[in-house]
């Protein structure tokens, strides 16, 4: 009975082999991850410790780049200016994008007529490329032939007509609202999935206990929606502190007009790559320092927030 003796052994060996080989499969992914994520991260970190003359690395200067970023004019003014814009970006997106998305998702969840259509309609802008979105809204917001001003004029609200993207008071807000329009459908989708995962019985139980209307939302819906709200907040936080594409598509890399649409990522781009036309000088060291600061800031606050919310979720 030689084969019978032999068989269990091979099986075991095979299983061991399988167990080993299974660890080999992530290697290609790990190499890509290491090459394109871990390596650049550390490269940026080391770049930020050196003095740069154009593209040539100069001597080691320690934390001087970081010091310059926060103390030397005009860099520090530009930093705080852009930082403030990122905060406004986050706040307005939380209110107009996520707040509206939450309400819309609830309406769709309650199955109003045409909710299927609405779901698709809200998501549609998301299918467009950011560059296309930026281009379209640039046309709509054009002061002299753009649709918005034309409509305002037709309905007799000439006084509200503006050079939306040229006026420092409205330029950034316009861009953020376009971003909200663009991101609304994604929020609706996430929240809708959240609503749908709430067991129906809970609503019935709530009803029996006499909860209705706002109390139902406050006591049953909100606590159970914490995971969706959490993920949307984190994503919005990261997205608004990395805001770049739409600003770049609509206003270019100078944060125009007069730095009123500058965000940290646009400022970073300008420092590290020297503006749009390719003719101006670069500050690789300062740019890398800014990237490092931004990375630390985003990961720190995101981690903090997640920790806080997880505790909250348990409490509720």
């Amino acid at each position: 009975m030689k084969p019978a003796m032999h068989k269990p052994l091979t099986l075991k060996k095979q299983r061991n082999w399988k167990r080993l080989t299974i660890h080999l499969f992530p290697i290609p992914a790990l190499i890509i991850y290491g090459l394109f994520i871990v390596y650049p991260l550390f490269a940026a970190l080391t770049y930020s410790f050196f003095d740069w003359k154009g593209i040539v690395r100069g001597e080691f200067v320690g934390l001087d780049n970081f010091k310059d970023l926060f103390t030397l004019q005009p860099f520090s003014d530009l930093f705080w200016n852009a930082f403030g814009h990122n905060i406004l970006y986050f706040v307005l997106q939380m209110i107009f994008q996520n707040g509206l998305a939450f309400i819309l998702a609830y309406i769709i969840y309650k199955k109003v007529r045409g909710s299927e259509f609405l779901k698709i309609a809200y998501f549609l802008p998301r299918l467009l490329s950011v560059i296309v979105v930026g281009f379209l809204w640039k046309l709509i917001l054009n002061p002299n032939y753009g649709a918005l001003n034309v409509i305002l004029e037709k309905v007799g609200l000439e006084d509200l007509e503006k050079a939306w993207l040229g006026d420092p008071d409205t330029a950034l807000i316009s861009i953020i609202l376009v971003n909200c329009w663009y991101g609304l459908g994604f929020g609706v989708l996430i929240f809708l999935a959240g609503f749908q995962s709430i067991p129906k019985e809970l609503f019935e139980a709530g009803k029996l206990d006499g909860a209705a209307g706002f109390a139902m939302i406050r006591r049953i819906v909100l606590p159970l929606m914490v995971p969706s709200i959490m993920i949307m907040t984190v994503l919005t936080f990261i997205q608004s502190f990395e805001a770049f594409e739409l600003v770049y598509a609509m206003q270019g890399s100078q944060g125009e007009p007069y730095h009123s649409t500058d965000t940290l990522a646009v400022y970073f781009y300008r420092l590290a790559f020297g503006g749009s036309a390719g003719g101006s000088t670069t500050a690789v060291g300062l740019g890398s320092a800014l990237a490092v600061v931004l990375f630390i800031f985003i990961s720190f606050f995101t981690a903090l927030y997640l920790k806080y919310m997880q505790k909250k979720q348990v409490d509720l």
């Binding site: 394109f36 994520i37 650049p40 991260l41 490269a43 940026a44 770049y47 003359k53 154009g54 593209i55 040539v56 005009p74 054009n142 002061p143 002299n144 503006k162 050079a163 939306w164 993207l165 040229g166 006026d167 420092p168 993920i231 984190v234 994503l235 990261i238 990395e242 270019g252 100078q254 125009e256 007009p257 007069y258 730095h259 990522a265 781009y269 300008r270 420092l271 590290a272 790559f273 020297g274 503006g275 749009s276 036309a277 390719g278 003719g279 101006s280 000088t281 670069t282 300062l286 990237a291 490092v292 931004l294 990375f295 985003i298 990961s299 995101t302 981690a303 997640l306 920790k307 997880q310």
Partner: protein
């Protein structure tokens, strides 16, 4: 576990930003082909590929065994691609060099081969050569073309209203008022994009600060940007805003170009590269230009600079062949071909073009040129002085800055890095 997942997901997302801090790519230069040498040319002019192929054909008539390949990359990415390649000791044999500061930076960093003794270099005027002269006073590039900025105008509108090219600043201002009274937008300029503003200052400024004399003085450190001459050039720009289109603060390049070629606006302060675009957009447009008349009793001026030069990679294995190609680029034969094919003004003096407008621009360049000061001398610093004047002028048009504050900011910026002003 869930927490870990969430955190690592977040970390992943935030890391994405940092990737952009470092990108690598290479424009390789491979060795020779079987029957001779292969040269590669790097450039940002992807739109000129066909024209360059004709140039190469001509070159091959004389040097049939040198194989030349024109490999351009996208304008906005060219610097990054080239810089990364040069840093790793690679890159094309022949490099299309950005003018002034960025190009000179490459020469100073030792990435370029000095062109000592290249025949034909002595025909170029000193200011043309300055676009690619290293701080060691050696020549690193062969100048290719001259760009100009000037006031373009719509001849038909001028005829209709009965106007002529202005000879003095007062005439220019009256002309603006007349056009406005006739219902035209006199000057098609928007302030949404800052680069248009330093360009406009390049055209109108010299009429007030006194053109070349001021440039000589400031580059020698004998005057300052806070001087009355320079301040008056900023004030003039401020004064002209009454002749800009409605809502000018929200108008960008596309908008003002459209206003001009559709005949809504009569004048268009922009660069020579727009000639081809305008003609393509509206073949009926009767395009003219005039040199800016001086407000301080000097000659009218056309604002010029060298737009690009060609240099040799210090790491190239085919330097001799590359020199032959650069030599060819200094010949009259090449210059004539260049003006015809590219519709640009050759940097080689005395080349005629069969295009009337380009030809008269070329003539004006030889007789009345003043440098685009911000680009030629003040593109350095961080942020550059040129970028500073752009932002500050934008601030002025938005009512956040007075002309005096603009001048002060420009002086502060220049003082921070420009040796003669320190």
């Amino acid at each position: 576990m869930k927490k870990m997942k969430a955190i690592s997901f977040v970390a992943f997302l935030s890391l994405i930003l940092v990737i952009s801090a470092c990108s690598s790519s290479d424009t390789g230069s491979d060795g020779g082909s079987e029957d001779g040498t292969t040269l590669t040319i790097g450039s940002w002019r992807t739109e000129d590929k066909a024209s360059y192929e004709k140039v190469i054909e001509k070159f091959n008539e004389e040097y049939p065994d040198i194989n030349v390949e024109f490999k351009p990359s996208k304008n906005t990415e060219y610097n990054t691609i080239l810089n990364t390649a040069l840093q790793s000791g690679e890159g094309p044999d022949i490099i299309h060099l950005r003018p002034y500061t960025p190009g000179i930076e490459l020469a100073d960093a030792g990435y370029l081969e000095p062109l000592d003794g290249l025949e034909g270099l002595d025909q170029y005027p000193e200011e043309t050569l300055a676009a690619s002269k290293g701080t060691d006073d050696k020549q690193y590039g062969v100048p290719l073309n001259i760009s100009t900025t000037q006031m373009f105008y719509n001849k038909k509108i001028f005829e209709e209203v009965g106007l002529e090219e202005p000879k003095t600043w007062e005439e220019f201002m009256t002309l603006n008022k007349t056009l406005q009274d006739e219902g035209y937008t006199p000057i098609s300029l928007g302030t949404k994009e800052g680069w248009l503003l330093s360009l406009a200052h390049g055209i109108i400024g010299p009429a007030h600060y006194g053109a070349n004399e001021f440039v000589d003085n400031i580059t020698a450190g004998e005057t300052e940007f806070t001087s009355d001459e320079f301040k008056s050039s900023i004030e003039a720009l401020d004064e002209l805003k009454q002749f800009f289109p409605e809502n000018y603060e929200g108008l960008g390049m596309e908008d003002i170009r459209t206003m001009f070629f559709t005949g809504d606006a009569a004048m268009f302060p922009l660069g020579s590269w727009e000639i081809e675009v305008l003609r393509e957009m509206n073949p009926e447009l009767e395009l003219g230009f005039f040199p800016m008349p001086s407000a301080v009793g000097k000659e009218p001026t056309i604002t010029t600079w060298v737009d690009g030069s060609y240099a040799i990679n210090a790491n190239s294995e085919n330097k001799d062949a590359a020199k032959k190609f650069l030599q060819f680029m200094t010949t009259e034969e090449f210059g004539t071909m260049f003006t015809e094919e590219f519709k640009m003004i050759s940097a080689i003096p005395g080349i005629e073009s069969d295009d009337e407008l380009v030809n008269s621009l070329g003539k004006a360049v030889e007789e009345q040129s003043t440098p685009y000061m911000m680009l030629v001398h003040f593109a350095g610093g961080n942020p550059s002085t040129k970028a500073t004047i752009e932002t500050e002028l934008q601030g002025m048009y938005l009512g956040e800055r007075s002309p005096e504050e603009v001048a002060n900011a420009v002086q502060d910026s220049a003082k921070s890095w420009y040796e003669p002003l320190k």
